[in-house]
Each structure stands twice: as C-alpha cells, then as structure tokens.
Symmetry: C2
Subunit: 156 residues, 2 copies
DNA sequence: CAAACCCGCATGACACGTCAACCATTCCGC
DNA sequence: GCGGAATGGTTGACGTGTCATGCGGGTTTG
C-alpha cells in the first residue's frame, strides 16, 4: 500500500469550498421551492421529465434514466406522488410487467406554476452571479467528472 | 410581474450538467464511504471536526457551526452516533443548558481508517481530474455563491 | 416447449433530514 | 431581584432515500 496523497492546502480549499457551496445552495433552493410551491426538487425533476414528453407519460424505467435514480427510490417516490394526485399509474399494454406514469392536470398546473419561480431562484443564487467564462469552465468540469464516473461505473 | 427570464441553451447546459455531476459524484462518494468504512458523509464530517479539536470535544453549537446543520439534525445525528459508540455526551460544567460531545476511541479509530480511503476517492473522482486553472475557477465560484447566500440570508 | 435467466417494478425495514413545538437555563433591562 | 427575551438543546411526527429481497412477466437456449 502506497503512501496516502493527502490534499494540499489549495486542494483542501477547493474541495471544502465546493462541498460547502453545494450543500448550502441546494438546501436553499430545495427549501424555498418546497415552501413556495409545495414541490420538492425530486417532484420537480419528475414533473419536468413527464411534461417534456409528448404525451405526458413515460415508463418508469425511462423516467429513471432521465433523473438517474435507483429504481426503488423511483418506485417509492412515484407512489407518493400518485397519492398526492400529481401523477397517475396505468398498466402497460405492450409489456405485462411494466407500468406507465402519466402526469395529471394537477401535476401540470403545479409544474407550470413552479417553473418560473424556480428559474428565478436558480438565477438569483447561482447563474447570474457567474461570468460566462466561469460558466464555461463549470460546464467543462461537470462533463469531465460525469464522463469519468460513467466510464468506470461497471455497476455492482 | 415581469416576464420570466428562462435559461438559454448555454445556461441550461451548465445548470443541468452541474446538477447531474453533483448528484452523481456525491452519491458515489457517499455510497463507497458507507460500504468500505461504515461511515456516512455526515458521520465523517462530525468526526473530522471533533478530531481536529484539541481535546476531541466540542459543544454541539460549535459543531453545528462547523458542519452547518440545523440544530435538530445535529441533535438527532449525535444521538444515533452515540448509540453506535462513535461519540459520547457529557453535561457541560459551565453552562447548565448545554452538553459536550466527545469523540470516543472507536470514533477516532473509525475516522483514522476512513480518512485515507476517502481522500483517495475524492482525488480519483474529482480533484485529480481537473487542471489547476479549473480548480482555481471552481474555488472562485464557490466563494461567490457562498458569499451571496450568506449576504442575503435574513434568517426566518 | 420447458428450464434458466433477465427485466421491470414493488415492498418492508431502517437510517436520515426537516419542521414545529417544547423545555430548561441564562442573559438583560429596569 | 424579577420578568421577559434569547440561547442551547431535545423530541415526535412525518416525508424521504437506501438496501435487500421478492415476484411475475419476458426472453433465450437447449
């Protein structure tokens, strides 16, 4: 076993700062979204995906691919959203195992009310604070990290 | 009410990429840390703060300031960590309301075993993938966002 | 066409985080 | 000093996320 390569001061600063920024930013956005619209970030992501779909419906595994959640998380969350009347489940005609998730009118109304508000918040606390160069760099960073994670993600 | 300033394509790309990177990265780190060391990221943060302290003990409100958690979250989490034998609670001599949290030998052992492993993972999936310029920019971004959040944080 | 395997999804148990309410102590103004 | 506010911390209820497991419908292979 080789020697541990601890983070040097500069790296620590970056990593801790990033951790702190990330946790504060998302807890802020999450809390405000919840308070003002009654939707969680998770609800929001699901409803965006569904309403982007032509007929407002998706198979759970398609939805899962878009939001990148574990299937059990998705299953639990969809049940709760169905209980709240934001989505509806149907059985799938073409696949006896599967289900189809359909956005309801209430779901559409919720996301259409929430979206403008949420975009404002994202601008206010993040996007509008950064220069085009910073945004560009952040996009590169994100892509690099995502590719690395995807590359060496052989699953369990 | 003014017109909504939706995100343009470039901004969408940045924001969605950042969201995706952030969620994938932390879920990866969290899961691996948990599997390999039995500690959650929350455990890790608490134990780092405690073991950084000269006498291995802190008041909960000091700990709360370091990890930036709500007090109820901290209270719940410290109870669970105490149940697992990672920390110990004492009553505070100098303040009848307060408590003192002390890291146990088991807690020290846990964090000392986890730290090298976790640092390797942070390097592997993040730090080592980025150029010094990218790290520099990310630090700037983090600081900008944190300052903005702190500035206009009127509390409840 | 049957056995074996895989896929899509649900479920139960449990850890976690938030909210709202609460209790006890200490601090502060008068 | 005393009444009230502020501080330090806990608790219970509830929504959420993960892990392990299960289950029935599909698909493939002999």
């Amino acid at each position: 076993m080789s020697e541990v390569r601890w983070l040097d001061d500069r790296e620590q600063l970056v990593w801790r700062g990033f951790l702190s920024m990330q946790s504060r930013l998302f807890s802020r956005l999450e809390r405000q979204l919840q308070r003002e619209t009654g939707l969680s970030g998770a609800d929001y992501a699901v409803l965006v995906s569904l309403s982007d779909s032509p007929d407002g419906s998706l198979r759970p595994f398609e939805l899962g691919a878009e939001v990148d959640w574990e299937k059990s998380r998705l299953s639990h969350h969809l049940r709760r959203m169905a209980d709240r009347g934001l989505v509806k489940r149907h059985t799938c005609d073409t696949d006896g195992r599967g289900a189809v998730i359909l956005i309801t009118d209430a779901g559409r109304e919720a996301i259409e009310k929430a979206a403008p508000y949420h975009v404002e918040e994202v601008r206010r606390w993040f996007i509008d604070l950064l220069t085009p160069e910073q945004l560009q760099t952040l996009a590169q960073i994100s892509q690099t990290v995502i590719e690395r994670l995807a590359a060496e993600d052989p699953g369990p």
